[in-house]
């Protein structure tokens, strides 16, 4: 066995099975940090042994057995909570069994996702925790994507992992009626990874934007783990529709291009098709939800690639539904714009005016929408004010330039 092929085998296992290995060990030990340490030792042992001994027939089972031994050592040295002693022993038995049989080890990633998004975990740690444990992304990269220092991010992650172990947050998939709320936390954690990555698309290829791809990867995993949860498919469809447009969002000179003016030939057909497939399968469950509605809105925008037109009345209707189940300012602003675009600018503006001022003071999309609607109503100086306010609220330089351009258009 050559050194390089052993290394290639180790890399392949790390790439394809890391999240499953962590989930499996952590769920048995009730301890994410301990599972990570044990697996990292197991990978180190593989780097040492596989080049000379050859790659074992069942690499995952080999790694699990080493990780198991390591965890037992740690347990002996440390005071361990009584109820985990049993599960450690169970882990030991199972590792032996896995090595002896042809069965693949159980996939516990769904339980891990529910632990990462548990309400007892600091909300700011949930998404980073998912990225690190399920995809194996290192803390430094996560830190740069979330614009915090690597030390601060590491500390946040360590604190969350300690909480999981010390408070004994259970590795389980909640049962209804709790399930519905808890799924929402998981979906929200994934979507927050996506929007964090999406917001700064200007730097394509940056760690920032890579996060959007990571979020889609977790979204795909979630669909695979919860095939009959329509909202998981809705979320994936939403992310895919948005991601399909990444090449069209900025012109070649770096200028921001708003969605309804993008060149639809630049949109990714395969991603849109995948999104549509997931939306269709989700619809079959006849259980509408926030992410399916948001994806349906994006689906109508995507349809412009075929029909050449945007069905605004349909979008307004979907926002109406969205505003009822998720009355965030995002859906209220979207609804007002859609009403205006559907041919009723005065009515759209009235809907915008109904949103309490205290909620929109720093919400950039509101001010951009307000400028747009005022312009439709031919109130130029007020439109100018709104666009100026919007421009001062964005941290995306390309979007800022675009908004200032709208200001001067209304001069």
């Amino acid at each position: 066995m050559s050194k390089s092929s052993a290394h290639a085998a180790i890399e392949a296992v790390a790439r394809d099975s890391y999240g499953r290995l962590i989930a499996y060990v952590a769920s048995r030990a009730g301890d994410v940090a301990g599972a990570e340490d044990a697996l990292s030792d197991a990978f180190a042992a593989a780097l040492e042994r596989w080049p000379t001994d050859g790659v074992p027939q069942k690499p995952e089972a080999w790694l699990l057995r080493v990780a198991r031994n390591r965890m037992i050592d740690v347990t002996r040295r440390r005071q361990v909570r009584e109820n985990y002693e049993k599960s450690f022993l169970q882990l030991a038995d199972e590792a032996e069994e896995l090595a002896a049989t042809n069965e693949h080890f159980p996939d516990e990633r769904l339980k891990l996702l529910f632990v990462c998004a548990h309400p007892a975990i600091d909300p700011a740690a949930r998404t980073p925790l998912m990225l690190q444990t399920v995809l194996g992304i290192d803390a430094a990269r996560i830190a740069s994507a979330f614009l915090v220092s690597p030390a601060a991010m590491s500390q946040r992650l360590v604190r969350a992992k300690n909480k999981i172990r010390d408070a004994a947050i259970p590795f389980r998939v909640p049962e209804p009626p709790e399930l519905e709320e808890r799924v929402w936390f998981v979906l929200d954690g994934i979507y927050s990874a996506y929007t964090t990555g999406w917001e700064s698309l200007t730097e394509v290829g940056s760690t920032h934007h890579a996060l959007a791809a990571d979020a889609i990867a977790i979204g795909r995993t979630l669909v695979q783990l919860m095939p009959s949860e329509p909202e998981a498919r809705g979320l994936l469809a939403l992310m895919l529709h948005c991601e399909a447009r990444s090449a069209a969002r900025y012109a070649s000179n770096g200028e921001f291009v708003p969605l309804d003016q993008q060149d639809s030939a630049l949109w990714s057909r395969p991603m849109m098709d995948e999104a549509e497939n997931h939306l269709r399968s989700a619809a079959a469950f006849k259980r509408m939800g926030r992410y399916q509605l948001e994806a349906a809105i994006q689906s109508i925008h995507a349809n412009r690639a075929v029909s050449g037109i945007i069905n605004w009345p349909e979008i307004a209707l979907l926002y109406e539904g969205l505003a009822q189940i998720a009355p965030g300012i995002g859906s209220l602003v979207g609804r007002a714009v859609a009403i205006a675009q559907a041919g009723n600018p005065a009515e759209g503006f009235a809907a915008l005016e109904e949103i309490p001022a205290s909620r929109v003071a720093t919400y950039q999309p509101y001010w951009a929408a307000r400028g747009h609607l005022l312009k439709m109503l031919n109130k130029k100086s007020e439109a100018q004010e709104a666009f100026t306010r919007a421009a001062s609220l964005t941290d995306d330089p390309a979007l800022r330039d675009y908004l200032f351009k709208r200001v001067s258009e209304n001069a």
């Binding site: 005071q79 909570r81 009584e82 109820n83 548990h118 007892a120 010390d166 408070a167 004994a168 947050i169 259970p170 389980r172 909640p174």
Partner: protein, 122 residues
């Protein structure tokens, strides 16, 4: 796994305690016992009944009142033995005080908590 349920209440809640509230507390305690998860616990008298003591430089300092003057005071505590945090949260949500006060769930440090605490005090 043992958890402490610490009930934090405002002064107004203390002042409003009536027979119905006490009966609800007792029924809750009985439910914990019936489920076999109850380790111990009690409701506490009002913070006005508290006296705080500390030892500094070998001298005993005693002062009237609770440790800190805060908006909410410890109004009672319970110790339960359940498999995990989710189960502990379920029990805490059933606590009659959960509807108006806050209940903090904290794992006990098993290391310092021998199971025979009751026997030791007998």
């Amino acid at each position: 796994m043992k958890y402490a349920m610490l009930v934090y209440q405002s002064q107004e809640t203390f002042d409003r305690r009536d027979d119905a509230a006490i009966a609800a507390g007792r029924a809750y305690g009985e439910a914990l016992q019936a489920a076999g998860v109850f380790v111990g616990g009690a409701g506490l008298d009002s913070p006005q009944a508290a006296t705080t003591v500390s030892l500094r430089d070998g001298k005993r300092r005693v002062h009237d009142g609770p440790y800190a003057e805060t908006k909410e005071f410890l109004g009672g505590f319970g110790i339960i033995d359940v498999p995990n945090l989710d189960t502990a949260l379920e029990w805490a949500a059933r606590h009659p005080a959960a509807a108006h006060s806050s209940i903090e769930i904290r794992p006990l440090m098993g290391f310092y908590f021998p199971g025979g605490a009751n026997k030791a005090s007998q």
